[in-house]
Amino acid sequence: MAIKTILVSQGTCCKSAGAEKVLAALQKEISEVGLEAIVKTPGCHGFSEIDPVVVIEPEGILYAKVKVEDVPEIVHSLKEGSRWVERLYYRDPITNEGIPCVHDIPFFNKQQRTILKNCGALNPRDIHDYMEVGGYQAIRKALLEMTPAQVVAEVNRSGLRGLGGAGFPTGKKWEMCAAAPGEIKYVVCNADEGDPGSFQDRSVLEGDPHAVLEGLLLAGYAVGAQESYLYVRAEYPLAIKNLQIAIDQAKEKGFIGNDILGSGFKYDIKIFQGAGAFVCGEETALIQSLEGKRGMPYPRPPYPVIAGLHGKPTLIDNVKTLASIRWIINEGADWLVSRGTETSKGTAVFSITGKVANCGLVEVPMGITMREIVFEIGGGIPGGKKFKAVQTGGPSGGCLPEALLDTAIDFDTLRAAGSMMGSGGMVVMDEDTCMVDTARYFLDFSLKESCGQCAPCRLGTMQMHEILARITKGEGKLSDLDLLMELSEGVAKGSLCGLGKTAPNPVLTTLRYFRDEYETHINEGRCPSRSCKALISYTINSDKCKGCAKCVKACPVDAITGAKKEAHIIDGSKCTKCGVCLDECPDAFGAVECC
């Protein structure tokens, strides 16, 4: 019998769900039972919904939502070599059928993983794992067989566009930086992933740090830089740790240093921890931050590729962009050209979250439809609820309605729909999500993150937020909607950087596709999703209430009265609308109503 490899993913999301405890229990049990097996700890496999996950290779058997108590049974079944632990199989949310093999799970088999290929498969803290699957072959090929100009030309020909959100052609940027005069140049990896609801960069950094380092090396060689920075959010401690380990190992192996692979190419990679400012994802703000200043964007031109960090030509690329480069060098530009759509090549990585059955990270070819992502990979909306919208692109993007579900997604179609790719966050919303409140939520985010130097952004987002907050309280006027349009235009036109220019998008798209929801709030003083606190009230239906007193006990503000076995009553003046009573009321009664 072949020795089994047992994979227990240890990404941030896996750990949050208890993967560390499962790993410890597994190692203990294996040594106690005397099972011959290799235990591996890769990064995130992407299917966060079913964490912690244990995968047994070579069969590819996947156990979902594993608890410490399950570990002895798993180990014993392997030791005896007789059967799998069927009760731990992943179950299809619709058919409830158990699926044993990882490759048969729709969440995985509908994906096309290249950037995420190693995530969940390799131990990110062991450079040998990466080298075994062809790691550092691209930089070897570039240094020993190609000139820097050839590397630039290959990236240019591949049609790769920056995967940080804006979609600027990567090769073009490299070409400009390579041509920029100057002896000293820098390369920066923008890993300041600040969009709320997206974690794809984090997953790549945690799960495949060497791929990012190899991308940085290739970029440095191509443009003629000697030094590079990884600008990573301090909120990603595991990513920072894995990157530091990877840098140290790469130095030891001679992939980073003074004479890399004997080619004479000298290069260093350093980590810089971002201190928590969303605007620093904007390249000029990021440069200011690297220089120790407030992260305030400044006007371009000159573009960073001409004069960036410390006034020197600086190439700034996103994590996923850099992680894609080695494929282009290894496989050739045509490999990418053949993938994706006419204008957007390759794959896109989305984090799919919110009101969807299968939360997680997916990599799909450009041109896939939103319906495929939400319903086939994502498994649809849980609890029998009705789909309402998909929000893409974070605070810079917009909410797209059901009518657009069949649109093929790429940089340009999303932009035409009023949203954008952004860093790849995709939040699914159902009938219980209020679109006015969603717009208010994003404006709240943008106004807090605005650096404040452009008045239209600083004041405009605040005004827009005030209006939206008023509407969610039922105090809006119909003329507010025109005012919102006017302010949106002003903020977009009058702001220097991307934050301000795109901050109105959540408002514009919700007004465009869900105007009726705004009107219901304004005209009828009602929130159709029953989500805006000021417009809802909780009552107890005395016909249905059995007087079990569960809600009375649970109410945190003592707003519910009534003796046992008698119908209870909510005192509206005390009620804070926290909804605990609704949660508590047994489904069989369903006496608490929200309207």
Binding site: A234, G295, V427, C578
Partner: protein, 161 residues
């Protein structure tokens, strides 16, 4: 983590491992906060002298970034995620429940330095939404107001009943 006061000497020791350059300001402040818990007035002055820039410049940089704190933080630093996924799954209710249970508002620290409650943009555990972290390590996910009350029962108003 919850150090209330620290000495000039502790700050000086940290400074010795840095260069006297402006680009070091953020890493220096990060290290002081990591080791000593927060940025005191004395520490800010020491950094200004070390890098040889006006104190106002250190404040300008430090106050721009959400990471930096100028007051000691409670023994339990509770970060409630307000990311989009958490928002659509009811993060506001969770924050309300935490404020109620702990008796402090978002951004505040309890007088006994036991709890600090802070709203953060996104902790990236979207599958566990709505989620909170305690001291940046312990993650509690798929929360409801009831689960919050179970996690933090002490200050609950109804405890006496």
């Amino acid at each position: 983590m919850c150090q209330q006061q620290y000495t000039e000497q502790q700050v000086q020791e940290i400074l010795t491992s840095f260069k006297r350059e402006e680009r070091e300001i953020i890493p220096i402040l990060q290290r002081i906060q990591e080791d000593l818990g927060y940025l005191s007035e004395e520490a800010m002055l020491a950094v200004a002298k070390f890098v040889f820039v006006p104190e106002s410049k250190i404040y300008a940089t430090a106050t721009f970034y959400a990471q930096f704190r100028f007051k000691p933080v409670g023994r339990n630093h509770i970060a409630v995620c307000r990311g989009t996924a958490c928002h659509v799954r009811g993060a506001e209710r969770i924050q309300d429940a935490l404020e109620r249970q702990l008796g402090i508002k978002e951004g505040e620290t309890s007088e006994d330095l036991e709890h600090t409650l802070e709203a953060v943009a996104c902790i990236g555990c979207c599958a566990l939404a709505p989620a909170i972290t305690i001291n940046n390590q312990e993650v509690h996910g798929q929360l409801t107001p009831k689960k919050v009350a179970e996690l933090f029962p002490a200050a609950a108003a109804k405890e006496a009943n």
